[in-house]
């Protein structure tokens, strides 16, 4: 028979040595899955092994009824009733059969009789409730289901049915009350919380729903403790600019701290590095090419140190927005934050280097005088130019990434055209005005006028250059503001 080859119909080892209730689990598995035909077949097989167990008969009838196999159910029910006339199911199942056949009057007749004969059987009341549900009488249905629940106060099944009937009828407020009864009697059952939350949500009481789910998940004590929780939403009174500058300052300081901790020689690298560059240029131009001349070391240092400030600022800022992509998309920090941090970080590193420069110049026979006060405007204009150039390149690179490759080349060209390791006076005088259009060349000339020539640079010429750089910085700040929401998109491309 095909049926016998069906693996799902191969019973576990059953027989006299296995308690019937254990063997019945095999059929109940199908019942739980609501595979009623399979359940009926399994009960049929079990019936052969346990013919004296009423469950194998009446559960099979129930399975046939649920599967819609009404004739099979009726035939089996006749046999079962003959065999077990006093079983409660023997009296109730004819009513179920009648209801399935939509013989409502006949079903009612049977159940009215049962009401008198078997008032303590919960199935009497659930069957009456089913009849009332068919009549659309929610109140009667509720009364019968409550009676069923009260028949077995230690079993949650009928309380659940009681609450579910209100859910099905969409009486959610009533359902919420019934789930509360279930929770009170069976606090360990998750369904009371889950379905109770569903009922509360259906009434629009999200707070109660959340409370129930949290209680279910974390327990009563935890939820009680929540009442005392306070998460103050502290109003931030700082202006966005204040916020940004505070953040730039801290990030630059911490970057320096991090840099210092990475190397054994710590911050001394800030001084060693320019000295190393100086050593290289001295070796090439002064020793090997013998093009240095008198005081070449001072000439070189007054050119190299300001240049390194500009070069490092532009170099580190140029790709800073691209490198900050993750942080920008994580925290929404403004794109200008990244080049500003690099600018400040590089500028702070220049402080000991500039102290070294002034000390070196002084020790080489160029004592400080009133003309050194001119350093302040020169450094200011230098800072403005470096900022404008760095901000402009950093702003452009996310849009034109090929510029990343051109920046080092451009910086090398700028270095050769700025008179770092030579004095601009060595070039043809006709080209001087053109040469000094380069801001770096002009600034190096100013530094040398102060340190070597002991004079004050042309402050008027310096201030208009400073003015142009300041305007450029202002324009760039506006550009950054305008493109604030464009950068997060561009860096993602």
């Amino acid at each position: 028979m095909a049926m016998d080859s069906d693996v799902s119909l191969q019973p576990p080892e059953i027989g006299e040595h296995i308690p019937p209730e254990m063997a019945f689990e095999w059929a109940r598995e199908s019942v739980r899955e609501k595979d009623w035909s399979m359940a009926a077949r399994r009960w049929a097989m079990l019936r052969k092994v346990y013919p004296d167990e009423p469950t194998t008969w009446f559960q099979a009838v129930h399975a046939h009824l649920e599967a819609g196999e009404l004739d099979a159910a009726e035939s089996l029910l006749v046999l079962a009733r003959d065999r077990f006339p006093n079983q409660p199911y023997a009296k109730i199942q004819p009513a179920h059969l009648a209801m399935k056949r939509e013989q409502w009057d006949h079903a009612k007749e049977i159940l009215e009789q049962l009401r008198v004969e078997c008032p303590l059987n919960p199935h009497t009341w659930t069957s009456l409730a089913a009849l009332s549900a068919h009549d659309g009488d929610f109140e009667a249905e509720s009364q019968y289901l409550w009676k069923a629940a009260e028949c077995t106060p230690n079993q949650p099944g009928f309380y659940i049915q009681f609450a579910e009937s209100a859910m099905n009828a969409e009486h959610y407020e009533e359902a919420a009350k019934r789930w509360a009864i279930l929770r009170e009697r069976f606090p360990e059952l998750p369904i009371g919380y889950r379905r109770g939350a569903a009922a509360a949500r259906a009434t629009g009481d999200y707070d109660a729903a959340r409370h129930l789910l949290l209680t279910h998940q974390y327990g009563d004590a935890f939820v009680e403790e929540l009442a005392d929780q306070d998460f103050p939403n502290v109003a931030d009174t700082r202006s966005p600019l204040n916020k940004l500058l505070g953040l730039v300052w801290i990030k630059a300081l911490y970057n320096l701290r991090s840099e210092v901790r990475r190397n054994y020689l710590s911050f001394t690298w800030w001084i060693i590095e320019p000295l190393m560059y100086m050593g290289i240029y001295m070796l090439v131009f002064d020793v090997l090419l013998t093009r240095g001349g008198e005081n070449y070391s001072i000439l070189l240092m007054t050119g190299l140190i300001p240049w390194m400030w500009t070069m490092k600022s532009i170099g580190t800022s140029s790709t800073s927005i691209l490198q900050g992509q993750q942080l920008m998309l994580q925290t929404g920090v403004q794109p200008i934050f990244f080049p500003l941090v690099m600018l400040l970080q590089t500028a702070l590193k220049q402080i000991p280097v500039y102290i070294l420069l002034t000390g070196f110049v002084w020790l080489n026979g160029n004592p400080p005088g009133m003309h050194w006060f001119a350093l302040a405007p020169v450094i200011l204009v230098h800072a403005l130019f470096t900022s404008a150039a760095s901000l402009a390149i950093a702003a452009a690179i996310p849009f034109f990434r090929d510029l990343t490759i051109l920046v080092p080349t451009g910086l090398t060209l700028l270095m050769f055209l700025s008179g770092i390791f030579y004095d601009y006076s060595v070039i043809d005088e006709r080209w001087h005005s053109v040469f000094l259009l380069n801001p770096v060349a002009y600034l190096i000339m100013c530094y040398r006028e102060i340190f070597i020539d002991h004079t004050v640079p042309d402050l008027l010429a310096l201030s208009w250059r400073g003015g142009v750089c300041a305007v450029l910085c202002g324009v760039l700040l506006m550009v950054y503001k305008k493109l604030r929401y464009v950068y997060p998109r561009v860096v993602m491309e």
Binding site: L213, L226, Q330, T331
Partner: protein
């Protein structure tokens, strides 16, 4: 109850991402969000479910104001919104304490406020003496704990959370989930992106499912 005016409204919001081209290839475009209609109400906890690449993270970035939509309308009447970010801006060479200050400030807090709550961060993170050690010496779990401990002290009107509760060791995951539950219970609006339907059912009033940049289901 969540019947008052929404904190944030998204009306027909769309985001079109560009895949950069080059001299040999034209750029291509991709609709990360197609048409999103969504409201976040005060005190509401909203769960967003969806597969990888469905547009969940993009949606959070739009909600947080990091990205502006290409089309549609996004209305936020001045409410603070914060995307809970773990280990935002962490520098592996700096100590846990220093990173806490930096990361807290990056998430919108003032230096004074973060500094005044450093003990709380230290205690919650349960990393003991490692708090004053460089973060590069931390295990992954310790880094996550510290990250969450910092993020939890922010308190915006709308808190956006992207899968962060699924990281870290199990014990700390439970602890962070409890903290989130407390936030929700305290009436803060929370948007939670998760793969776990069970988690969102416990924590959220409302769940939306996002697929191919469109909200497919919106159920309470």
């Amino acid at each position: 109850m969540t019947t008052s005016e929404p904190l944030i409204s998204m009306i027909d919001v769309g985001i079109r991402d560009k895949r950069k081209g080059n001299v040999f290839k034209r750029p291509s475009y991709f609709d990360a969000l197609k048409s999103i209609n969504l409201e976040i109400k005060p005190g509401e906890s909203l769960g967003i479910l969806g597969r990888n690449g469905a547009g969940k993270s993009t949606l959070l970035r739009v909600l947080s104001g990091i990205l502006r939509p290409d089309r549609g309308t996004m209305i936020n009447n001045g409410h603070s919104v914060s995307l809970l970010s773990l280990q935002a801006g962490f520098d592996p060479v700096l100590t846990g304490r220093e990173n806490a200050v930096l990361s807290g400030m990056l998430q919108g807090l003032s230096r004074r406020e973060v500094t005044s709550r450093l003990d709380e961060i230290h205690e919650y993170s349960e990393i003991g003496d490692f708090f004053d050690e460089p973060v590069r010496t931390y295990s992954t779990g310790m880094g996550t704990r510290l990250g969450f401990s910092i993020a939890r002290i922010t308190s915006p009107d709308v808190l956006l959370i992207d899968e962060v509760l699924s990281v870290g060791d199990q014990e700390f995951r439970k602890k962070s989930e409890r903290t989130l539950a407390k936030r929700i219970r305290s009436g803060q609006a929370v948007v939670l992106v998760t793969h776990s339907l069970a988690q969102s059912q416990v924590l959220c009033d409302r769940i939306v499912r996002i697929e191919d940049g469109v909200i497919r289901e919106d159920e309470q």
